[in-house]
Amino acid sequence: MAEHTGTTRPQWTKNRFAGLIFLLAGLAVILHAFALSIGSWQEPGPGMWPLVIGVALVLASVAVLSQRIDAAEGEEFTPRSLLAVPAMLSLYVFVWAFSLLGSTVPGFLLALFWLKVLGRRSWPISIVVSVVATAVFYVLFVLALGVPFPDDVLLGGR
């Protein structure tokens, strides 16, 4: 493998990076715990338990920082990892559209996007699966389980 020499360093940095984030998170938890009032041993305040967790988090992140984690632990980021960005964006847009337009149109578009764009399926398969899935979920959740979805742009309110 050509990139073999390159793989050890990014792996190392990634774990260090993660450890650093946990360390900062732990310190933030401790700070917030003090702001909440610790109380005493006799009468622990709302900050006592967060303090325990914050201190443990700091200790654990120091342990993470101090050791080199086996390279097999995590997964490398690859160019295909970038797909996670449009995938997340599509879900974000879906939530927003769902609250305005109900489940049918946004549901169909979300499934279509995942099948056609992210999944590179053919048009006929993508359209058929999206239509069927949207219909099945509508029947299951709205008609069978009676979940009050937001008013639907196609089918109107109930």
């Binding site: 990634k14 774990n15 993660a18 946990f22 998170a25 938890v29 917030h32 909440l36 041993w41 006799q42 009468e43 622990p44 305040g45 709302p46 338990w49 967060p50 967790i53 988090l57 654990a60 992140s61 342990a63 993470v64 050791q67 984690i69 086996d70 632990e73 995590g74 997964e75 980021f77 690859t78 295909r80 990892s81 797909l83 996670a84 995938a87 997340m88 879900l91 974000y92 879906f94 939530v95 769902f98 609250s99 549901g107 979300l110 499934a111 995942w114 099948l115 992210l118 999944g119 590179r120 399926r121 398969i125 699966v129 999206s130 899935a133 979920f137 959740f141 389980l145 979940v147 009050p148």
Partner: protein, 509 residues
């Protein structure tokens, strides 16, 4: 006898048409997702939580339990035929099972694992019937310090037994404990870590957290295209094991049943740990350890029996103490909470239909699996032809719509997104989501018990070690940890000397 009468009631619950239907649905779904790589029992149970909401409590748990042990049956099929473990516990099965398949004995490998799993499941059910009620009686006397000790020991063992590095698993558990803090403080009523967001005052809901971490996180991870092909599939061949196969695996099945049962009761013991341990034991016990890795039937029979036995006995701590022992059981705990049932020592007496119904359904489910498993192997393998992209599209849609349906809440949908991203990143840096979810569930129990203990003892932290049960538990945990740390060091040294020994021997030759 009392137990028999209760068991009969349990079968009456399990045999109602609705529950019968859901046993079959549960184990079938379990087998399907066990076959499909990438979608494990945890993700599936998380995705189905909204649907269980509308069911009776006993029915919901019967179905979810079926998914859990059904997945182990399904995972075996792809491990043996394709060396593609559908879920983690089948990884060891892939070693010898796939070798057997290459020697044209795939059928025997599948047959013996189905039989072994069946026996292991039954042994665990019997053990559960005998152990759970007295354990629950004993646990009724537990006070807050015992619960702190149990939860702490449980979390420690789960992170310790996890497949990833110890410190990273601890971090994952601590993140879970932290996330459980968000919301109103249970005793004083102060809002904590809400970042000024009104919706966070009630705390994070378990369902979107689990669905995000396991469902969306898993899908994002699979988007990168890490799946094998079903092309190089082996022929199944004769399914019924020969008398010789049975004779050779009987020891492995017996040991696997007992060991799997015992390990399953321990926190973190269900699934992977039991199958790995069983494989290790069988290799050590065998007179021909060199056959392992080259199609030894004991290497399939033992682990498969053990993982099914342990997935059954893992229900004991949940149903008697109210403490889930691994990530999947944490999800089932969440499902019970959704039903308004808080699992604890009084569950057996307060909700006998759940306890005995679930036990009886396990017997039924194992029979169904044994009957379904072998004839339908071919059908299940065909499932691998469904493109993963289609599954992903369907899964995101059901996740997003499903999470809304639990509380009719748009905010929960954003929570799913956030935890989907977190789950994806955690996987990337090698943090397991299991300990996080478990800790998230245990967090409130631990905090409340901790603060009550302090109040009871008038601020003396020694209360955790002076009370017999909590003291013993913490002591045992310490002992186990020390023993394994030192044991590992000794083992490493012994291995080193052995290697030196063989080296000098070869040099002498």
């Amino acid at each position: 006898m009392d137990i028999l009468a209760n068991l009969a009631d349990g079968f009456a619950v399990a045999f109602t048409p609705v529950n019968l239907l859901y046993v079959v649905v549960g184990v079938s779904v379990g087998m399907v997702i066990g076959v499909l790589p990438g979608l494990g029992p945890a993700a599936t149970i998380a995705l189905l939580l909204p649907i269980t909401f509308g069911l009776e409590s006993a029915t919901a748990i019967i179905m979810l339990a079926g998914i859990y042990y059904g997945a182990y049956y399904g995972g075996t099929i792809t491990s043996v035929l394709l060396r593609l473990p559908g879920e983690a516990a089948s990884v060891v099965t892939a070693i010898d099972g796939y070798q057997m398949a290459r020697q044209g004995r795939a059928g025997a490998a599948l047959g013996i694992s189905a039989i072994g799993s069946f026996i292991g499941g039954l042994v665990a059910v019997v053990g559960m019937v005998l152990i759970a009620p007295p354990l629950a009686d004993f646990a009724v006397g537990f006070g807050p310090p015992e619960y702190v000790a149990l939860a702490a020991v449980g979390l420690l063992l789960v992170t310790y037994l996890g497949t990833r590095s110890f410190s990273m698993s601890i971090v994952s558990a601590l993140l879970g404990l932290f996330l459980a803090l968000i919301g109103i403080d249970p005793i004083a009523g102060t809002p904590r870590f809400t970042f000024g967001i009104e919706e966070l005052r009630d705390g994070l809901n378990f369902v979107p957290v689990a669905m995000g971490l396991f469902g969306i996180g898993e899908i994002l991870f699979n988007l990168e295209g890490r799946y094998g092909s079903a092309d190089d599939r082996a022929k199944v061949g004769r399914i019924l094991p020969t008398r010789d196969d049975l004779r050779r695996s009987s020891g492995a099945i017996t040991r696997g049943s007992l060991m799997g049962f015992l390990i399953g009761v321990l926190p973190g013991g269900g699934g992977v740990v039991s199958s790995l341990t069983s494989y290790g034991i069988e290799k050590r016990v065998s007179k021909q350890p060199e056959r392992f890795g080259h199609g030894a039937i004991q290497g399939v029979a033992g682990p498969e029996t053990a993982n099914n036995a342990s997935s059954t006995s893992a229900f004991i701590p949940l149903l008697t103490l109210g403490l889930p022992s691994n990530g999947v059981l944490a999800l089932i705990f969440g499902a019970l909470l959704l039903q308004g049932v808080t699992p604890g020592p009084d569950l057996i007496t307060a909700h006998p239909d759940i306890f005995w119904g679930v036990i009886a359904s396990m017997v039924l489910g194992n029979v169904v699996l044994l009957v379904l498993n072998l004839p339908l192997v071919g059908v299940f393998v065909q499932l691998l032809k469904v493109p993963i992209e289609v599954l992903a599209a369907l899964t995101v849609l059901i996740t997003m719509v499903g999470v809304f349906s639990v509380r009719n809440n748009i905010f929960d949908m954003y929570v799913v997104l956030a935890f989907g991203a977190l789950g994806y990143l955690m996987r990337k840096i090698g943090l397991e989501p299991g300990p996080l979810v478990l800790a998230f569930v245990l967090g409130p129990i631990m905090e409340t018990s901790f603060r009550q203990s302090m109040l009871i003892s008038n601020g003396d932290p020694a209360v955790f070690v002076t009370r017999p049960v909590s003291g013993t538990l913490l002591g045992l945990a310490l002992l186990v940890l020390c023993w394994s740390v030192f044991g590992k060091a000794i083992g490493r040294r012994r291995k080193a000397t052995e290697e030196n020994g063989t080296l000098t021997k070869t040099e002498a030759e």
